[in-house]
């Protein structure tokens, strides 16, 4: 699509033309029924027709499952089919929330859930902050007139395309006890560390790897935001001889706020949902140092021999509710802040 197909080669033009014909033939098909529908539906109501396919798929594969999840959350036992499960009321929620001291997971009925809660909060706070800092820094550097900018931009984006499992395996291979990182450190005269077995290091690497895998995406969003800032604003500032730092704080940052908010919300949603990468990388260990909420849900409801779907569903509903609430607050804040 777009500029990609402007090749001088005759074959390229032919293929492009053929694709164009195909596109026309296929997309022309619904012309008649749609025209008939248009004749009947006045005003914007035709819009419903356009959203219908999307809503249908959403309804069947996203909303219906959530409804089923609600039923799971209110029922107990290990039966999978919803109709076989006995109703237990709020028991699953009670069990998840039963805690003598919320700060000490060992005092909770479901200690793993609370390890997950605290680890996730810690992870989100640190990961999102660092992610924004590094993405912003990279975007600022990439926004300079620099030789090879396109290449650099692509390089930072590359890991975004890799699947979480692949990302985790790549880093696991580097960080294992006999991995290349330890070899390098020992070669330089230092002492190797068993990176994924030390609680603090494992936590560090779970953050590092997730930033490595995702920062390219956020960098590009911020870069686009930076490039949308008109150059003459800066020129005016330069004439006022404002220091670079001052210009950054007074001009760049405020003008970049909308992009930053998008990065913040998307980054936070993804950070709260962190699972695959870390699960393959550390398995949640050492001990429970990198057990995050989605892993708790996955293990209780899906990977255990006796599956506690009720607990898993209750946990996921709590998680989704928290995320939703937070996102709405953010959006409201954004709306209020916007001119």
């Amino acid at each position: 699509m777009g500029a990609g197909f402007h090749r001088p080669a005759a074959l390229g033009t032919l293929i492009a033309r053929a694709l164009g014909l195909l596109y026309g033939a296929v997309m022309g098909l619904p012309e008649r029924p749609m025209r008939a529908a248009q004749a009947r539906m006045r005003g914007g109501r035709l819009g419903w027709l356009f959203v219908a396919p999307n809503l249908l798929v959403f309804g069947v594969f996203t909303f219906l499952p959530i409804v089923i999840d609600f039923w799971y959350a209110l029922t107990g036992g290990a039966q999978l089919l919803p109709q076989d499960r006995p109703y237990v009321g709020a028991e699953n929620f009670r069990s998840l929330l039963a805690c003598a001291n919320y700060l000490d997971p060992t005092s909770c009925e479901r200690d793993l859930f609370w390890y997950g809660v605290w680890n996730t909060l810690k992870f989100v706070a640190i990961q999102v902050t660092l992610m924004i800092v590094f993405s912003l820094l990279t975007a600022l550097v990439l926004n300079r007139r620099i030789v090879g900018r396109g290449f650099y931009r692509a390089a930072f984006f590359y890991p975004v395309l890799l699947s979480p499992v692949v990302v985790a395996l790549i880093w696991k291979w580097i960080l294992q006890r006999n991995g290349i990182l330890n070899a390098t450190i020992q070669g330089a005269g230092g002492n190797g560390v068993n990176w994924l077995v030390d609680a603090d290091w494992a936590f560090f690497w779970s953050i590092f790897v997730s930033i490595w895998a995702h920062m390219g995406f956020y960098t590009l969003i911020l870069l686009a935001g930076l490039q949308a800032i008109p150059a003459d604003i800066y020129e005016a500032a330069e004439m006022d001889a404002a220091s670079p730092w001052r210009r950054f704080r007074r001009l760049t940052l405020p003008l970049l706020t909308p992009s930053l908010v998008v990065v913040f919300i998307l980054g936070m949603i993804r950070a709260v949902q962190i699972f695959d990468e870390v699960y393959v990388l550390t398995g949640g260990g050492p001990g429970t140092a990198t057990v995050y909420l989605v892993q708790f849900i996955y293990q209780t409801g899906f990977a255990a021999g006796v599956r506690q779907y009720g607990l898993a569903a209750a946990g996921s509903l709590l998680l989704a509710a928290a995320l939703l609430l937070f996102t709405l607050l953010q959006l409201r804040g954004l709306k209020r802040g916007a001119p």
């Binding site: 396919p53 999307n54 809503l55 499952p65 300079r144 620099i146 590359y158 490039q227 998680l319």
Partner: protein
């Protein structure tokens, strides 16, 4: 711009710092993947050597008359045979029996502490060929390609239709629909896995490639991205077309879609990446090997009791390669596209 090069004085320190930072970044982004590729052609023995070598070294092997099979070659480091390179026949405790191919009858007994394996450079492609020989690579590749292509086309169609309506029509319920779609972003896919399977099963979609395709074609990210982009298209173009008595459908596919090409390209690339990398959902919904996708087939070598890194690395490289190739050829459009669509 912030600290843009001033031009006059040539390179100042901020340029040096920027380049240093970017080069470091490039090394950090590509290095690990490169290391994976290099490691994936090492033999199991080479993988277990510590410290690892960068290139795939392997112990040299030779045949010895009177002995079956290939035997390892050692260099002798000390004693009266120092400097010789001999073939090891067998090792008994701390002592090895070696001989030279020229004189296989004369057996030398050397303490193993005086031996060093003789190495040669050798890419062990057998990690790949072993893997590929074990299954019908073509079939799984085609399954993956089919899912990726069809799901991407449908994703583009379904999401752009929704985005068109949400950006260009005013109808009751538009805002709620949009918000509800966005809200689904907050649902981690893992938690609807089981109910989704029950639904797919009720619809007869299990063990069918469509079972992977259909649930994937409505993405909140896609709708959001396309809607934001379409909002920037001026309504006047649409009005002009309506004057010419074009139907709404025609306006959608003849005018709005071509104008949204950059955003569609980005969504296409994301969709390709998502579907190609998908693992958990296909594994649940597909249980027959004739409909397996490449990642599932590759991971079918993961047994209960062991992890074999030499195969795991080759498998990882196999799944990574197509995405990397696409990226190499299309990176300009990808990154420009994301940048242009990212925030509007």
């Amino acid at each position: 711009m912030l600290a843009a090069r001033r031009g006059r004085s040539g390179w100042d320190w901020t340029d040096w710092a920027s380049h240093f930072y970017l080069l470091l970044g490039v090394a950090l982004m590509f290095g690990p993947v490169l290391w994976l590729f290099v490691s994936s052609v090492k033999t199991q023995a080479a993988l277990d050597t510590f410290p690892p070598t960068f290139l795939p070294w392997e112990q040299k092997q030779a045949t010895l008359p009177g002995h079956a099979g290939a035997l390892p070659v050692f260099q002798i480091m000390a004693g009266d045979r120092a400097g010789q390179s001999l073939v090891q026949i067998r090792r008994i405790g701390l002592e090895a029996q070696l001989a030279s191919p020229d004189d296989p009858a004369k057996i030398a007994r050397v303490p193993i502490s005086q031996l060093r394996p003789e190495l040669r450079l050798h890419a062990s492609w057998s990690n790949y060929t072993d893997l590929l020989r074990k299954f019908d690579f073509g079939l799984y590749f085609l399954n993956s390609v089919f899912i990726t292509v069809v799901a991407t086309v449908l994703t583009l169609l379904v999401n752009s239709m929704a985005a068109f309506a949400l950006s260009k029509y005013r109808f009751k319920g538009r805002e709620p629909v949009f918000l509800v779609m966005l809200a689904t972003l907050t649902i981690p896919p893992t938690i609807v896995l089981v109910p989704n399977y029950l639904i797919a099963s009720a619809l007869g979609l299990t063990n069918s490639l469509w079972g992977v395709i259909f649930p994937a074609v409505a993405t909140p990210t896609g709708v959001f991205m396309l809607r934001q982009y379409m909002l920037t298209l001026p309504d006047e173009i649409l009005e002009a077309a309506r004057m010419d008595n074009a139907s709404e459908w025609r306006i959608y596919w003849r005018i709005v879609l071509p104008l949204s090409a950059p955003a569609l390209a980005v969504l296409a690339i994301f969709s390709v990446m998502w579907r190609w990398n998908d693992f958990l959902w296909p594994m649940v919904v597909l249980s027959r090997s004739d409909v397996f996708t490449l990642p599932i087939a590759l991971f079918s070598f993961q047994g209960d009791l062991q992890t074999q890194w030499q195969y795991l690395l080759a498998m990882t490289a196999c799944t990574l390669l197509p995405v990397t190739l696409i990226f190499v050829f299309l990176q300009r459009y990808v990154t420009q596209g994301v940048a242009s669509v990212g925030v509007k």
